[in-house]
C-alpha cells in the first residue's frame, strides 16, 4: 500500500478542517439562535415577573386559597395609617375614621392611595362585557362580510379594492379607532327616544317615537363596537381563508341536491369553516381584551362605584352604562397615581388577573374549536 506523507500519519486523516464557509455558517446560526432566545427570554421575563409578583396577591395559604375579596370588591381608596409605635393599619375609608378615632393623638401619619384598595370586580366585569359584546358584533359583521366576499361577490377590480381597504383597516392606530368611536358611536349613533337631546345631529320623527342621532354616550355598546372595528380586519381576512379552504365539492354537491346558495353556505360551508374562524378569532379576543386606547374615549372610566346593572337602567345597563375595564384600570394604577409600596398590590394583582383572564378566554376558544373540529372533520 502507498503510505501517506509522514506528517499526516500522526494526525487523524479524516479530521475536518474548519473552513471559512463553516465559520460563516456558525456565526449566522448563532445570530439566528440568539435572536430566538432573546424573544423567549423577554416572554419568560414578563410572565415570570407577573406570576411571581402577582400570584401572592390572588392566592393565599389559607382556605379558600383565593383572595376572594380582591375578585369580588369594587376598587376603592386605600388608607394607610401609622401610629407612633410604627404599627401600620391598611384600611378602607370607613375603617380609617374608626381607627383614627381610636388612635387619637397616637396617629403619626395617614396616606391615601387612590384605587388601590378593595378589589377589581368592576374592571373584571367591564372587560368581560366589552369582550363578549365585541366578539358577538365582530363575528357577525366579520363572518357576514367574509361570506359576501368569498361566496357571493363577483371577483374583479372593485372587490380587490374592498379587500385592500379592509386590510388597511388593520394598520389604523388604535387611538384613531378610539377617536372614531367617540365621534360615531358616542356622539352620533342613532337612538330611539321621545325626548331627543339638543346636541342630536339629526332627528327623524317616526310617529310613535323619534330616531335621534345623538350617540350612545360612553357605554359598553360604544366601546364594544369600537373594539369590534379594531379586530374586524383580522376576523374578515381569516374567515375568508377558512371559507376558501372548504372543498369546492361540498358546495357543488349541495347545489346539485337542490339546495339554494344560502342553504349551501349555511349547511355545507360555514360549519366546516367554523373551527378555523374561531381559532383566528382567539387572536381577536385577546387583542380586544387588551386594547386601552379604543375604550378610553368610548366605554371606560377610571373609577366607578357601581356595577353596570346597579344603575338606574337596571339589567339593560350592561349595554348602556360606562364601565371600568382592566387594561384602562392598569393604566390608571400605573400612570395616574403616585407610586409607593402600597400601590403595588393592586397593580400586580390586576395585571395577573388580566393575564389569567385573557388566557382563559383563549383556552375556552381552543376547547370550543376542538369540539367543533371533532364534529366536522374531513
Amino acid at each position: 500500500m502507498h503510505a501517506p506523507a509522514t506528517s499526516a500519519l500522526l494526525e487523524n486523516p479524516f479530521a475536518k478542517r474548519r473552513s471559512h464557509r463553516e465559520t460563516y455558517e456558525f456565526i449566522v446560526r448563532s445570530v439566528l439562535r440568539g435572536a430566538t432566545y432573546l424573544i423567549l427570554f423577554a416572554t419568560a421575563a414578563i410572565f415570570l415577573h407577573i406570576i411571581v409578583k402577582g400570584s401572592p396577591i390572588l392566592f393565599q395559604a389559607k382556605a379558600p386559597f383565593i383572595n376572594v375579596e380582591f375578585l369580588t370588591k369594587l376598587p376603592e381608596t386605600l388608607h394607610v395609617l401609622e401610629d407612633k409605635q410604627g404599627h401600620i393599619y391598611k384600611t378602607d375609608p370607613k375603617g380609617a375614621d374608626a381607627i383614627k378615632h381610636q388612635l387619637g393623638d397616637n396617629l403619626r401619619q395617614e396616606k391615601t392611595i387612590s384605587y388601590s384598595g378593595g378589589g377589581i370586580l368592576g374592571p373584571i366585569v367591564g372587560t368581560f362585557l366589552l369582550v363578549l359584546v365585541c366578539i358577538v358584533i365582530a363575528l357577525f359583521l366579520g363572518i357576514s362580510s367574509a361570506i359576501y366576499l368569498s361566496e357571493y361577490a363577483k371577483p374583479g377590480k372593485f372587490i380587490e379594492w374592498v379587500r385592500l381597504a379592509i386590510l388597511n383597516l388593520a394598520g389604523v392606530p388604535s387611538v384613531v379607532f378610539g377617536l372614531f368611536g367617540l365621534g360615531v358611536f358616542v356622539l352620533a349613533a342613532p337612538v330611539f327616544t321621545n325626548t331627543p337631546l339638543d346636541r342630536a345631529l339629526l332627528v327623524i320623527p317616526l310617529g310613535f317615537t323619534q330616531m335621534s342621532f345623538q350617540g350612545w354616550d360612553t357605554s359598553v355598546l360604544s366601546g364594544a363596537f369600537t373594539l369590534a372595528f379594531v379586530i374586524l380586519p383580522v376576523i374578515i381576512t381569516a374567515s375568508e381563508e377558512c371559507l376558501r379552504a372548504v372543498p369546492m365539492g361540498f358546495r357543488e354537491t349541495s347545489l346539485a341536491l337542490g339546495a339554494t346558495r344560502w342553504q349551501t353556505i349555511w349547511r355545507s360551508v360555514l360549519p366546516f369553516a367554523m373551527p378555523g374562524i374561531l381559532t383566528s378569532s382567539i387572536l381577536g379576543i385577546a387583542r380586544a381584551a387588551g386594547e386601552t386606547a379604543p375604550i378610553m374615549f368610548t366605554a371606560a372610566l377610571a373609577f366607578k362605584d357601581k356595577l353596570p346593572w346597579q344603575g338606574e337602567a337596571g339589567f339593560g345597563g350592561v349595554f348602556t352604562e360606562s364601565v371600568q375595564a382592566l387594561p384602562y384600570h392598569i393604566y390608571t394604577l400605573a400612570a395616574r397615581i403616585p407610586q409607593n409600596e402600597y400601590s403595588e398590590r393592586a397593580q400586580y394583582g390586576s395585571v395577573f388577573v388580566f393575564l389569567v383572564l385573557v388566557m382563559t378566554l383563549a383556552t375556552a376558544s381552543v376547547l370550543l374549536r376542538r369540539k367543533l373540529r371533532a364534529k366536522y372533520k374531513w
Binding site: 363577483k154 354537491t253 341536491l257 337542490g258 374531513w378
Partner: protein, 267 residues
C-alpha cells in the same frame, strides 16, 4: 359534418322521443370556447356514456345539464340550447333549484359531507323543507336500498360517513342523489377513484338503476363504457365526433378519429 351524421345515427336508433335534447350547443368559459355545436338526444331509462380524451368537453357538457356550471364565473352556453322534456333548461323563468332536483349528479371524487350517513342522505330532503321525521327516515332507507348500501350500513346510520370505504362512500353519494327522486342521474367519472371491486359494484348498481332512471356517465374507462352503457358518445376537442349504440360504436366505428381513439392510437 361528423356531428350531423352522429345525430342521424342517434335519431334512427331512438324509438321514442329523447328525454334530453342537446341542440347545437356552443359553450365557453369566458373567451375560451370548449364546446362546438354539440347535437344529441339522450333517451329515457338508458345509460349514455360520454368518452373521449381529457379536455374534450365531455365533463363540461355533463355539467351543463344540471347547470352546475353556473357557479363558474363567465361560464355559459353561447349558442343552442338543452331541453329536458321539451323545456329549455336555460330559460330565464326556469327555477334552477327545481331543475337540479330533477337532474341529480354524482361526482368523480366521492365527497360525502363530514356528517353521519343518515344526515348525508337526508340532506337533499331537508333543504327541500321536508319536516316529517318518519317520511325522511323512510326515504333514507329506500335510497340506501336503491344504492345497494342499506345492508352494509343499517346498523351504523348515525356514524360518520367518512368511516366507510371509498366504494361505500361513492354508493352513499349515489343514495344521496337518489333521495330527491331525480329523473336523470349524471355521473362524472364515478369510479375514477375506486378499486376494481368497488368499481364492479357501482357498475352493477348502474345496471339496476337503469330501470328507473336516465343515466349519463362520463368515463375514461372504455371497458366500463362497454359494460354499462346503451349508447356511447365520443368527444374530441369540444366536438361530438360520433354517437351511436355502444356495441356498434365499439365494433364498427364510422369515424376514423373514433377508431383511432378506441384502438389507443390517440388521446
Amino acid at each position: 359534418m361528423s356531428s350531423s351524421s352522429a345525430s342521424t345515427a342517434a335519431a334512427s336508433s331512438a324509438t321514442t322521443q329523447p328525454l334530453l335534447k342537446i341542440n347545437e350547443v356552443d359553450f365557453a368559459y369566458g373567451a375560451r370556447q370548449t364546446l362546438f355545436g354539440v347535437n344529441m338526444g339522450i333517451a329515457q331509462r338508458e345509460v349514455t356514456a360520454f368518452i373521449g380524451p381529457s379536455g374534450c368537453g365531455k365533463s363540461t357538457l355533463l355539467r351543463c345539464i344540471n347547470r352546475i356550471n353556473d357557479m363558474i364565473e363567465g361560464a355559459r352556453i353561447t349558442k343552442g340550447n338543452i331541453t329536458l322534456g321539451n323545456v329549455d333548461i336555460n330559460h330565464p323563468d326556469l327555477d334552477v333549484i327545481a331543475l337540479r332536483r330533477k337532474v341529480g349528479m354524482v361526482f368523480q371524487k366521492y365527497n360525502p359531507f363530514p356528517r353521519s350517513i343518515f344526515e348525508n342522505v337526508a340532506y337533499g330532503l331537508e333543504v327541500a323543507g321536508m319536516k316529517n321525521k318518519k317520511l325522511i327516515a323512510e326515504t333514507v332507507e329506500r335510497s340506501l336500498r336503491s344504492a345497494t348500501l342499506w345492508e352494509e350500513v343499517k346498523d351504523r346510520l348515525h356514524e360518520s360517513a367518512l368511516g366507510l370505504s371509498g366504494g361505500q362512500q361513492q354508493r352513499l353519494c349515489i343514495a344521496r342523489t337518489l333521495s330527491v327522486r331525480p329523473e336523470v342521474v349524471l355521473m362524472d367519472e364515478p369510479c375514477a377513484a375506486l378499486d376494481p371491486i368497488a368499481t364492479a359494484k357501482i357498475e352493477e348498481l348502474i345496471h339496476q338503476l337503469k330501470k328507473d332512471y336516465t343515466i349519463v356517465i362520463v368515463t375514461h374507462n372504455m371497458e366500463q363504457a362497454v359494460r354499462v352503457s346503451d349508447k356511447t358518445a365520443f368527444f374530441y376537442l369540444g366536438k361530438l365526433i360520433e354517437f351511436n349504440n355502444t356495441m356498434t360504436l365499439f365494433s364498427t366505428p364510422e369515424n376514423e378519429q373514433t377508431e383511432r381513439y378506441l384502438s389507443g392510437r390517440m388521446g
